[in-house]
């Protein structure tokens, strides 16, 4: 804290930059677009940012960055909207929000759910920003201690902890997780170059994209399933501000999960290569573990929506820590952010904070402005979104399918991704019919390739010595936690059996 005076000076520089009329405007444009892109299924932040990337050439570097960043974290706000209202997540990181958000909407509590997720997003985002302002160097030093052994341990922990996210049969969710891992192996092996399940198709060389899988399993499958369902009668009423107001009980239930979700999200955000999707799945799993009555989950538990939404927003903010302070992008979107800076002659990294403090602190302060704008923007919009549900399904669903296809086509300019969506849409529909959990498949798909990659890398680095997972203290610690969770699960199971 000895740096407090310089922190205030930096905040001053940042505010001065972020509050300039041009930057305010680009911040607004970014978060506004982000919200809409988040709501629209299929068009993810990456697609939107790539489309706007050429414009950043003609902007001041700070404005460019502020706008792109606004799209990125704005999406996290918007993506829960469609997940809650129509069971179609706007992006992969909100897939888990639909598990409890959609039942809430079915109970006529869509307004409350949207309000609480907006609030949780704000809290998650804000805490993420504070962490970035105060502790960036410490966090980066810590994140650098995570080598492949630690990543592998963490992925195993994730799989074990999140094995409980789905309802019903353990065997079914295990089978789906495995199926997800298998789909994750598709593509060229990064070690040997051998083709795995590519059937000679060049399009599959770099693997199956996360967005087509998530949109197929959750979005298209939902559309197909709903064709036969009657529309929601409960939602046809007018949404008043009063009906959006959560009860005292809702708020009481939200506080701890929001904070836990923020913590999990902030942690995963700082680790390059992980990110908001893993964070939201894990925070949901944690809530289900710590809940007194886990059976409420999947039927409209408030904890199940606020925690993942706090997590993905916190992760979105803390993802900037390795990107800006080390110049190491954790994801394709962050690489785009670095690209926007490089083209203007600025190299992100520890040196940037001293050489271009206006850019760094201007960006950080714009996060505050952006988050406040998002809150102000989102709460009044809730009424409009909910009213969208009164649209007849024969208008709403074709539009959703069109958005999904356009979004996926837009990234690669080929129809291949659209076929992938159709494939996973059909699969998702059959899975629902067989009561197989799609969330488990998505989780396996996200974690599987990371696990394999880091396991093999850890083994290469240790030259084939398995002890590396035990010798390294952080890795050992994570494995001990994993063991405890497993043991606890078995103990619970036995206790239920015996008595």
């Amino acid at each position: 804290m000895e740096n407090l005076p310089s922190l205030f000076a930096n905040i001053g520089i940042g505010l001065e930059t972020a509050l300039s009329p041009a930057n305010l405007w680009y911040c607004f444009v970014g978060v506004f677009l982000g919200t809409f892109i988040g709501v629209l299924p299929g068009i993810g932040p990456l697609a939107a940012m790539s489309m706007l990337f050429p414009i950043t050439f003609y902007l001041d570097p700070t404005s460019a960055l502020i706008m792109l960043a606004g799209i990125w974290y704005g999406t996290a706000y918007g993506s829960s909207t469609a997940a809650i209202l129509i069971n179609v997540p706007g992006s992969a990181s909100s897939a888990v929000t639909s598990l409890d958000g959609y039942p809430l909407a079915r109970q006529g509590r869509a307004g409350v759910a949207l309000f609480l997720t907006a609030a949780a997003s704000f809290v998650g985002g804000s805490i993420g920003i504070v962490l970035m302002m105060l502790f960036s160097p410490v966090i980066v030093a810590y994140a650098m201690k995570f080598g492949s052994a630690e990543y592998f341990a963490l992925m195993v922990l994730g799989l074990v902890a999140a094995s409980s996210i789905s309802e019903g049969s353990v065997l079914k969710s295990l089978a789906m997780t495995l199926a997800g891992i298998i789909f994750g192996t598709v593509g060229m092996d990064i070690y040997t170059g051998s083709e795995r399940f590519t059937f000679g198709m060049l399009e599959l060389d770099e693997g199956i994209g996360l967005i087509p899988v998530a949109m197929g399993l959750f979005g298209v499958a939902e559309v197909i399933s709903s064709v036969r369902l009657p529309p929601l009668e409960a939602l046809r009423e007018k949404v008043t501000l009063r009906s959006m107001m959560p009860t005292r009980d809702d708020i009481r239930r939200s506080i701890a999960p929001t904070l836990r979700g923020t913590g999990i999200g902030a942690f995963f955000g700082t680790l390059p290569g992980t990110g908001p999707t893993i964070a939201s799945f894990l925070s949901y799993a944690v809530e289900k573990r710590v809940a007194k009555d886990p059976s409420r989950f999947g039927h409209g538990a408030i904890e199940g929506i606020v925690s993942p939404e706090a997590a993905n927003n916190a992760a979105d903010q803390t993802a900037f820590i390795p990107t800006m302070t080390l110049g190491i992008p954790g994801s394709a979107t962050m690489a785009l952010m670095i690209g926007a800076l490089m083209i203007q002659g600025i190299t992100p990294g520890p040196e940037m904070m001293t050489s271009h403090p206006d850019v760094f602190w201007g960006l950080v302060m714009s996060f505050w402005i952006g988050n406040v704008l998002l809150l102000v923007l989102n709460v009044p919009l809730i009424g409009i979104w909910v009213r969208l549900l009164t649209l007849p399904y024969h208008l709403l669903y074709p539009a959703i399918l069109a958005f999904i296809c356009v979004g996926i086509f837009g990234v690669s300019n080929t129809t291949f991704g659209v076929w992938v969506v159709i494939f996973f849409g059909a699969m998702g529909f059959l899975m629902r019919w067989a009561r197989l959990p799609a969330a488990s498949l998505l989780l396996g798909f996200v974690l599987g390739p990371l696990m394999e990659q880091h396991f093999r890398r850890a083994m290469a680095i240790s030259q084939g010595d398995f002890m590396t997972f035990v010798d390294r203290p952080i890795s050992l610690g994570i494995f001990v936690i994993t063991g405890c969770i497993l043991a606890y699960g078995i103990w619970l199971h036995l206790r239920r059996r015996l008595g």
Partner: protein, 323 residues
């Protein structure tokens, strides 16, 4: 009747092709980028797009077609109409390494593509983690000989220039080390900075700030001259390893069969665009050097590089077969 119509069509076709070169371009030109937006090749292409501006009299459009290690875009352009309106911005991977290493290459640049002009070149560096004992390439190789298999060399991605430079060094010095593979420059640099691995080849752009900050040490520059950014770092030749040469490049290609008049028009305009101060400055911010060439210069460069790397790959395949 049929003969007559065929003759008409032929004549029309001939007429069209000569007319095509005269008033080329008469509609927008598409530059196909084999990677997603925001990467090095994409940004370089957009710098070229901006520098070309309206000098061609028609707008230039950038289209990203990522996937297949860049070969989806390569195959797309190779199969496009050879009229000069669909061009590929290819780099080492999609032009040479991808087709060289794939069992059934979807195309070969020699047979299916026509070089137009190089766009930019970038410098590669040989790097070690800050606390690695070896301070020179020579010491590094000595260390590798003394501790066979112990040095962990990060490979940014399979079949990339960074991969093959490492391979070339290992083959030509007959050394042994452990290769650790990554799926991109960023995670490989991160692990090198963190000291999880010991060494690796990287482009200047990814390494620059870490060398300046003392988090990485450059042992040598791959190239024929020292970098003005790090005048103390010797070239590979100065370090005693003259055979370790390789250039990161990207350049513009047309489908085979594109009329040479059109290729020349495009090449001249691209070379001029790459000499504008803006293009030079923007590319140098990316760690690259604007480098327009005539189609012939580009072809000569590509032939030499292709011969060299095919040899390295053949040796590596033989090595694998022996195991």
């Amino acid at each position: 009747m049929r003969i007559f119509s065929t003759a008409m069509a032929l004549a029309a076709g001939l007429f069209a092709s000569t007319a095509m070169a005269e008033d080329f371009p008469s509609r927008p030109i598409t530059l196909v980028v084999p990677y997603a937006a925001g990467g090095n090749v994409d940004v370089s292409t957009r710098i070229l797009q901006k520098a070309l501006g309206d000098t061609l009299g028609q707008p230039v459009v950038v289209e990203n077609r990522p996937g297949g290690g860049g070969m989806i875009a390569g195959a797309y352009v190779a199969r496009s109409k050879p009229d000069g309106y669909t061009l590929l911005v290819g780099s080492n991977g999609p032009i040479m390494f991808g087709p060289m290493t794939s069992a059934k290459p979807p195309y070969k640049w020699e047979k299916d593509l026509e070089p137009v002009s190089m766009l930019a070149q970038a410098t590669n560096l040989m790097l070690v983690r800050a606390d690695f004992p070896a301070k020179t390439v020579k010491a590094f190789i000595d260390y590798a000989k003394a501790h066979p298999g112990d040095i962990r060399v990060g490979i940014s991605s399979l079949v990339s220039i960074n991969h093959f430079l490492g391979l070339l060094l290992r083959q030509s010095t007959d050394s042994k080390w452990t290769e650790v593979y990554y799926n991109g420059n960023a995670p490989a640099v991160a692990d090198l900075v963190a000291g999880q691995i010991d060494a690796g080849f990287q482009q200047m752009v990814d390494a620059k700030q870490h060398i300046e900050g003392g988090r990485l040490r450059a042992l040598a520059v791959v190239g024929d001259k020292r970098s003005p950014l790090f005048p103390d770092v010797p070239t590979m030749a100065e370090a005693g390893f003259a055979s370790i040469q390789g250039v990161t490049f990207n350049g513009v290609f047309a489908p085979k069969g594109t009329p040479s008049e059109i290729i020349n028009i495009l090449s001249t305009k691209i070379q001029a665009a790459l000499q504008t101060p803006d293009a030079v400055a923007h590319l140098s911010a990316l760690g690259s050097e604007a480098h327009g060439t005539t189609p012939d210069e580009f072809r000569t460069f590509l032939v030499a590089e292709t011969v060299k790397w095919e040899d390295v790959i053949a040796k590596s395949n033989a090595e694998k077969a022996k195991k």
